[in-house]
């Protein structure tokens, strides 16, 4: 690896370098701010994040390459997810400016940590080497622990952080053990070489299953799939609300990215960048294992969400269910399946961030997180009520919202794949019906019951209203389908293959 090679590789690395620059700038800038003006560091971070996102959009990924000795890949798949998490970050920063929880404290390091987390996700979605996978996963995790404990003086926030650390350390330990077995078996940590060694087919199915499950513990924890979900409700409830919103979309999307990349590249029989004539390794039926995880996640998430009275906890459990839906697409693991997952992740980001942002604003304005207390909100704050109802319908997956279109793509992929996944589709769709009940509890609280018209109508600040509209409008127009996003998601299913 000579200097020229490094220079070439760095030219593919510009967005990451820009992000590093931005985060160093924020640290420096924050040194010159007093506590009451530290919000300016947030503005700098937001501005920088916008520039980085633009750089990502402008990045030419038409030819996939591996950089730094194939530690990382620069390909359409990674690029799509990087843009996705960047947009999510911008939205979350925007909402963080409006969060009461973060008022009256120094927030410089909050935005710095958030940027580091983003950098970690950039690495995670493009990692193609066991080491880079592990390091980036830890980078994401550690930043998540810190951010969920950011409200230092609150017991709940501390509890969230500690629980997160304990579960996280445990599962990454198991992941590492799985990796070490894989390394011992194949003699390489590069996932392309692992693929080559595994497809020679010497490993016994039993051993492969042990490795598979250990790796799934690590990845499953990141996406909060059942049975690795136990940290989710407490962390989601205790963390600052914008961080909760972020955890439910950003690191989750990145977690899906690494699952898809790792399984489709390392554990497949034929490396093909466009996923044509692709199949899973013959001695390892990981599709079935992921199918079981999907069923568990959907069902457990939905059933427990039915009983929640706190909106953050309800959304936390429902996010477990949504991870289950997305796993259905991972099971299909072909071009349609993966593009459906990508599309779902993008739509889910819009609707889930939206629901959390409304909850944050309600918490600011009415100081409550109980669904019961949303009573008559549809009359007290008509705009907020309608927008929240749109998010709830979309999360349920009712036409004509984006949530329906996303689910339609997923189930279409399942049914197209063949007879054997028809049951999965049935279970998935019936789960959607179950989720209707708890999402509609929010709508019911907002609109039903005795109507007492309030004296004054509550209006959210203009910037919050704009933010919410930015999230809600695409959901309303997604039914036109054939929309740019779905085409973009289809084109994004291209991995770098050595």
């Amino acid at each position: 690896m000579n200097l020229n090679q490094i220079m070439t590789d760095l030219s593919y690395f510009i967005p990451e370098m820009m992000l590093t620059g931005v985060l160093l700038l924020v640290i420096l800038f924050d040194l010159f701010q007093k506590a009451d003006t530290s919000i300016r560091s947030g503005y700098v971070a937001l501005g920088g994040m916008v520039l980085v996102t633009l750089a990502l959009i402008g990045q030419d990924v038409s030819t996939s390459v591996g950089i730094f000795s194939n530690m990382l890949a620069v390909d359409p798949f990674g690029n799509f997810l990087k843009i996705l998490v960047s947009v999510g970050t911008i939205l979350v920063m925007w909402m963080s400016f409006n969060s009461n929880e973060l008022k009256n404290r120094r927030v410089g390091e909050y935005y710095t940590l958030l940027l580091v987390l983003v950098l970690g996700m950039y690495f995670l979605v493009s990692a193609t080497h066991l080491l880079s996978i592990y390091v980036s996963l830890e980078m994401v995790s550690i930043m998540s622990y810190l951010l969920s404990g950011y409200l230092k003086e609150q017991m709940r926030s501390n509890e969230a952080s500690i629980k997160y650390v304990v579960f996280g350390a445990f599962s990454s330990g198991i992941l590492l053990y799985g990796f070490s077995l894989l390394y011992g078996l194949t003699g390489s940590a590069d996932i392309f070489e692992i693929q080559a060694a595994l497809s020679a087919g010497t490993a016994t199915p039993a051993l492969m299953m042990v490795i598979l499950i250990m790796i799934l513990v690590g990845f499953g924890y990141k996406i909060a799939a059942v049975p690795f979900h136990f940290w989710t409700p407490d962390v989601y409830e205790g963390a600052p609300a914008p961080i909760t919103a972020f955890l439910s979309v950003g690191p989750k999307a990145a977690g899906f990215a690494i699952i898809i990349r790792f399984f489709n590249v390392a554990l497949s029989s034929a490396g093909n960048p466009n996923m044509e004539a692709w199949s899973a390794l013959s001695n390892m039926d990981w599709q079935a294992v992921i199918g079981i995880l999907a069923i568990l996640s959907m069902t457990v998430g939905n059933v427990i969400a039915l009983q929640q009275s706190n909106i953050k906890r309800m959304l936390a459990y429902s996010s477990i269910a949504h991870a289950g839906y997305m796993l259905l697409g991972v099971v299909v693991a072909d071009q349609t399946g993966i593009s459906a997952v990508l599309y779902y992740a993008a739509v889910y980001m819009l609707m889930n961030l939206g629901a959390f942002f409304v909850a944050i604003h309600i918490k600011n304005a009415f100081d409550t997180e109980e669904i019961e207390d949303y009573k008559a909100l549809g009359y007290k704050a008509p705009v907020l009520g309608v927008i929240m109802a749109i998010f709830m319908f979309s999360l349920t997956g009712l036409p004509p919202t984006g949530g329906f279109v996303a689910k339609f793509y997923l189930f279409r992929a399942l049914i197209e794949y063949g007879d054997m996944y028809f049951w999965l589709a049935i279970i998935g769709l019936i789960n959607g019906v179950v989720s209707l009940y708890y999402y509609m509890r929010v709508v019911k609280a907002m609109y039903f019951g005795k109507i007492e018209l309030p004296d004054t109508i509550h209006h959210a600040p203009l910037n919050v209203t704009i933010l919410l509209c930015v999230l809600a409008l695409p959901l309303l127009f997604a039914w036109m389908m054939g929309d740019p996003l779905s085409i973009y998601a289809q084109n994004a299913v291209q991995f770098f293959i050595k």
Binding site: P399, I415, D419, L429, V433, G449, I451, M481
Partner: protein, 502 residues
């Protein structure tokens, strides 16, 4: 413009809903009259559609055909034939009249009328779309306004009724979605176009799904989806609750139009597309029809709540539709669709009349009245007429359609038909008994000052009464309208059966 009539008729209420949303909520009269004007215009257009409709052929007319999502071969495909034309008229008519029944809505009127118009658009869309995907979207879009209309403006148990209705129908819908996707992937080339699916119906019998005959599996999936809407026993439990808790106008729409969507779905999709499975399922369908007729009538007999009685009578009347169409004879099929139309007009009248008395007495307990015919003679007269129409007295349209269902079913399901006639006796029983308890005998002193039915209410009732009476005496225009299409459908299903050797 003629080529876009169906789109205009479907999306006119959406336009109206937007307009109403922009009117300040204090301008109550403008909101009401605006809604009336929009639905009135829709009714005029619907009549015009019937006027230019050529009923001598089974061809689909007024087609609008555009690519919508080419990647999935999804089309924006609208069109009507003799099956959907009566339903379009029914929807437009009942929507218009239900606006006048909604005049007394006392809270959040703006939201009410806007949602009502959206519901109207959804119903129209279901009856005019010929692409399964488009059909499904309209089918689902209807649920949201209905949920709010029951949940906000309904009776005491409205919240429970609304969520129960929503859960039931959504459960049905997801099975419909599964069936739809399975049809799409089995058909070659993949399509959602109902007409092409019907042409290729032989493909579905050969394929396998879940290790079974794909046609039968898909038929069952679609069956549950549609059966919940009809509702067919044992999927009917949402109905009494929803009908009773909904405000009057919404009960009218529920009974008058929404129930028809289930049977319409059978005739539009299940029967023509899955012909083999239809023949296989004809007997169970007839038995379910019989259960609906008898069970619905017995349940109605047991009710003390007048509205609940009318709701259960719907279950019974829809049973005739099932029996008629299961027979797969021209008479039975025509009777079934005619019964769909007639039940639409008659049950609408019944629910409106229940609404009239409830607005005045604030209860609906059949035992709680008595002798009020002396105080409100006009109301008693109109109710008598509606009840007679409901029990299928000759001279009213219900008689003709029920008779046709029986004539059609008798040669095929002789014993089932014989048992089903018991339902007629039971129907007469609960209607007459209820009438007797409410209007005859000693006058209940509480109701000496009961207010007579007013002109607005009469305005909503009289057109329906005239139609019921007219079609009872001279049903030919309506039968002409539908018979080409339906006879063609019966023939197609039968021929497929002969080919398959069933």
């Amino acid at each position: 413009m003629e080529n876009h009539l169906l789109s205009i008729v479907t999306f006119l209420p959406v336009f109206g809903a937007v307009i109403i949303a922009l009117i300040p909520k204090e301008k109550l009269d403008i909101i009401r009259w605006g809604a009336a004007a929009i639905t009135g215009l829709q009714l005029i257009l619907a009549i015009w559609i019937l006027y230019i409709f050529d009923f001598s052929t089974a061809e689909v007319q007024l087609q609008e055909h555009y690519a919508w999502i080419p990647a999935f071969n999804i089309e924006y495909f609208m069109g009507i034939d003799g099956l959907s034309a009566p339903m379009i008229l029914l929807t437009a008519l009942l929507s218009f009249l239900a606006i006048f029944t909604s005049w007394n809505i006392d809270k959040a009127q703006k939201g009410y009328f806007a949602l009502f118009l959206l519901l109207d658009a959804g119903m129209m869309g279901v009856f005019s779309s010929l692409d399964f995907f488009l059909f499904y979207i309209f089918w689902e879009v209807m649920l949201l306004p209905m949920y709010f209309l029951i949940g906000i403006w309904g009776g005491p148990q409205r919240e429970y009724a609304a969520i129960k209705f929503f859960l039931y129908t959504l459960f049905g819908s997801v099975l419909l979605l599964l069936g739809m996707l399975a049809l799409y992937f089995i058909s070659e080339p993949h399509t959602f176009n109902m007409l092409i699916l019907a042409e290729h119906s032989s493909q579905f019998g050969g394929a396998l799904l879940l290790g079974m005959n794909a046609g039968k599996v898909i038929f069952i999936l679609l069956f549950i989806g549609f059966a919940i809407k009809v509702p067919i026993f044992p999927f009917h439990t949402w109905l009494p609750l929803a009908h009773v808790e909904a405000p009057t106008a919404i009960s009218v729409i529920l009974a008058g139009v929404l129930l028809k969507m289930g049977t319409y779905g059978f005739l539009r999709i299940s029967f023509p597309v899955l012909k083999d499975a239809t023949l296989w399922f004809a007997l169970p369908l007839a038995i379910l029809g019989l259960i609906n007729i008898i069970y619905g009538a017995m349940a109605a007999l047991a009710q003390r709540d007048l509205k609940k009685m009318v709701a259960y009578s719907s279950v019974s009347h829809m049973g005739f539709v099932l029996l008629g169409m299961a027979a797969l004879t021209p008479a039975g099929m025509n009777g079934a669709v005619f019964q769909m139309f007639n039940h639409g007009t008659i049950s609408a009248m019944l629910f409106m009349l229940v609404g009239v008395i409830y607005d005045r007495a604030h209860h609906r307990d059949i035992e709680g009245f008595g002798g009020i015919a002396k105080v409100v003679p006009i109301y008693a007269g109109v109710t008598a007429m509606a009840f007679f129409a409901g029990l299928g007295l000759p001279g009213f349209s219900g008689f003709i359609s029920e008779a046709l269902c029986f004539i059609g079913a008798f040669p095929v399901f002789t014993w089932i038909t014989i048992f089903a006639t018991i339902g007629i006796v039971l129907n007469a029983g609960y209607f007459l008994w209820a009438y007797q308890r409410i209007f005859m005998g000693e006058l209940n002193s509480k109701y000496e000052k009961l207010e007579e039915i007013n002109n607005r209410e009469l305005f909503a009732l009289i057109p329906l009464a005239i139609i019921t009476f007219f079609l009872g005496v001279y049903p030919t225009p309506m039968l002409n309208l539908m018979s080409s299409t339906l006879n063609h459908l019966v023939e197609a299903v039968k021929t497929a059966g002969m080919v398959a050797g069933l």
